[in-house]
Amino acid sequence: MGFRFRLASFLVLSLVTVQVLTAVLVYSVTRTQLLREGERQLGSASVAFGRQLDDMSERVAGSVEVLALDFALRSAIAQRDQATLRSALANHGRRVGATRMQLVGVDGSVEADTLAGAGGRFAYADLLERSFERPSSAVVAWQGRAYWIVAVPVFAPDLVGVIAAMLPVDARLLARMQAQSVLPRNIELVALGRDGTVELARGPGASASLAGALAAGGRALPVQPRLVRAGGREYLAQAVSLKRSRASPPVVAILAYSVDEALQPYRSVALAWALLLSLGLAVGVLGAFLIARRVSRPVEQLAEAARRIEAGDYASTPAVGRRDEIGALASAFAGMADAIREREARILHQAEHDQVTGLPNRVAAEAQIERERRADVGGPAALLMVGLRGMPDIVRTLGHAVSDRLMHAAGERLRGVGGCEYVARATDTEFSVLLPGRGRHEAIACAYRIVDALAAPYQEGDLNLELAAAVGIALAPGHGEQAGDLLRRAGVGFISALDTEDAVVVYDPATDPHRPARLALMGELREALQRDRLELHYQPRLHLASNTIDGAEALVRWHHPTLGDVPPDDFIALAEETGNIRRLTRWALATGISQARKWRDSPQPLRVAINLSARDLDDAQLPRRIGELLALHGLSPDRIVLEVTESAVMARPDAALRILHRLADLGIDLSIDDFGVGQSSFAYLRQLPVRELKIDRVFVKRISDAAADRTIVRAIVELGHQLGLRVTAEGVEDASTLAFLADIGCDHAQGFFIARALPVAALETLLAERGAAARCSA
């Protein structure tokens, strides 16, 4: 529900509410006033009605009285002259509007009757009695109609009888009465019988019978005005008792005003009101809509502008041009949009540019390269990675400030080189230069121009730096289409250039140690580990004193389904780099310990030496795991040897020492591998819980030729023995070496001359052969 609609409906609703409340109020006040006025009128009408009846009675009585004084009539009465009496009564009855005239004797007997013969008793004895004293009247119910009897005494000169005139009280009479005075339109006469009311007459204006409604539920007819519903309308009614005779059921006149009729004049007022309300409503709706639109349209415009700003379009902020709050909001909005636009431009620039050189950064360079490659898919392009030799040294020596200024200057020079349009700072120490549409030769030519440009010494104050540049080149599409690939490969070329004397090196996929194939290989190694496709080969170790093979070093071998045998150095280094070495070690431990268990009970038991990686020495779980494996196989710890390289220990000596001590505590013999080539410290050597040194093959393989090496080996053997350690020589390749080693008292020898690393079956065969030979020679 929009703001506009809500505002409009609120205004309209309040308008309607006020109008309706006013209407209800006015209606109820008017109605109350009408009812009160009706009650008052009904009260006076009741009085008036009775009085009017009395007046008419009096007139009739007066008229009858004149008749009663007529000498001829009196004479006829005296003489009992029936015919004359009846004709005189009928004649006079017509004059006063009576339908029946009777002459009643003082004893109550009817002496003459215009409707019937004489004789019988006059029906209304109480009326007769009253009329002896003075003319009397009563309203009676007779034959379902209301009659009004006026009884007048006849004197001749004494009271001789009473003339009773019966006049119908019918619609005509009621109409006449209504015409003569302000009586209500609704008049009806009812007889109060024992079984309820009987309607006798009804005025011409009466629309409904009210007696039944008034007497409903056995209620008495109201003496005071009362509201009653009859015939679907509402009336204010009051009953007026009329003079009665005891011989007739009481006759009551019911006077009533129709409330609806009373309200009739107000209908037109109400109609006019409703029209006015509708008109006001329409105007109100329109006005509210217009006002709301005036308020909401700028708000909607602002909202639209906000959406455009959200989408990045800052150009068109709304110009509201108003002086009110919304105008203020709009101008604040425009200001905000400007500020955001500026800030975004700045952030964008910062995001895409290097602060030091002002050149585009690597992200921007990548985007640029991508754009160019998309524009010229498959076409030639060259990406140059340019850097200064010795930059890390410069940073360390002269600090970042100088190196920043140097990079800035280098950037400036690069931009000055012809054809170098797209220069960016790819890393801290490298620039990338994109040469769209250029091939290998042009790229190399450009690279040399760059090298020349950067070769000039850098001077800053009294600082004078000799500079030398190196450039790596990657060529699209041969070296990739993606910016990332090109940058990486150009970087690889750059590093090659740094390592060599060549100033410019074009990337060579064959020499790329970071080629993606290695990653695939890692996945395959993991899979091989899971599926147990690796294999341990064992290189026997000869115990020189007894000339028996009493141990073997476990070496991992991986026969790749397509690549064939993968060199262990390659995939172990890979495993170390990719964090998979612990998994490999666990596998080797499990396999090696299992094998050692098998060999424990063979005729010629072999101790198995297993290599640990530097990364394994961080693994606090390792000793526990080895202990569990030993326990699992029921193997005593002295049946295995764990080999650790010198450099592995030295990398993180404290952590390594903790692990090595725990391993030694298990009773496992530890051996220092590749001893003599690392940065070994005798201080540490003293602390190491090792039982064995393995002299590096570097020293062993030249024992036959080099006297120095012989000295070193002899010294190590002596040192080891002095420290209580066994000493093993690796890389024994000829008989003289073996003889020398035996001569100086080296404990074990290992090498091709004894045996290369062999699968379990081959090793066991070898052992069996040697065993047989020994037995023969013995």
Binding site: F71, I77, A78, E133, R134, P135, A156, D158, L159, V160
Partner: protein, 215 residues
């Protein structure tokens, strides 16, 4: 005049042991009723009855649009003469069954004597002046009295004994007999007090007063 005669006769009788009767007539509201005629009828055969007086001729005058007297007590056989002392004509009539007549009297004129032969009430009116009304009360009662303005009628010198007392008044309801009280015993000594209560109609003479015709 009758009373005087009766008194006289009583005195002449010199009956020391005579009894008296004092009748007080009131209407139902307790107001004294004048012009009531009280007749005494002896019940005991031993009571001496005065001898019948000779036939008389009574005169009813018409003066100031009134009959005078209002009530004339007479015995059957008496005559009545109507005399017009007014300066207007009077149309005197009676429809009474006792005696019906009708004549016009010019001013100063008198009617011929009218003989009332029967006992009963003759209501006399004037057809010109509705308010004029007079009654001729013909009775055979040995003693007749008329109440005065205080509603009292008094008689002495009656022989002690039992009497029937009949009371009539023109305003009694027509068609009804006189109010009779039988067995009224009179004895010597203080006169017997007798109270009579009458239910009366309005005075017919006033019926035509416009002020009173309201009902």
């Amino acid at each position: 005049m009758i009373r005087a005669v009766l008194l006289l006769s009583a005195l002449l009788a010199g009956d020391a042991a005579a009894a008296g009767l004092r009748v007080t007539v009131r209407d139902t509201r307790g107001a004294p009723v004048a012009d009531a005629v009280v007749g005494l009828w002896p019940e005991d055969a031993g009571i001496a009855v005065p001898a019948a007086p000779p036939r008389r001729t009574l005169t009813v005058d018409q003066l100031d649009l009134q009959f005078a007297p209002y009530i004339s007590v007479l015995r059957p056989g008496d005559h009545v003469v109507f005399r017009n002392s007014d300066r207007t004509r009077h149309h005197v009539y009676s429809f009474s069954p006792v005696k019906a007549f009708e004549f016009v009297l010019a001013p100063g004129e008198s009617s011929a004597p009218i003989a009332i032969e029967r006992d009963g009430v003759v209501a006399v009116g004037c057809n010109i002046h509705d308010r004029m009304i007079a009654y001729l009360y013909a009775t055979r009662a040995p003693w007749s009295l008329r109440t005065d303005a205080r509603g009292v009628a008094h008689i002495d010198g009656l022989a002690p004994g039992s009497y029937t007392v009949r009371t009539w008044q023109p305003r009694l309801r027509p068609g009804k007999p006189d109010i009779a009280q039988a067995g009224v015993v009179l004895s010597t000594g203080a006169p017997r007090e007798l109270a009579v209560s009458l239910k009366l109609l309005p005075d017919a003479r006033l019926q035509f007063d416009r002020e009173r015709t309201r009902y």
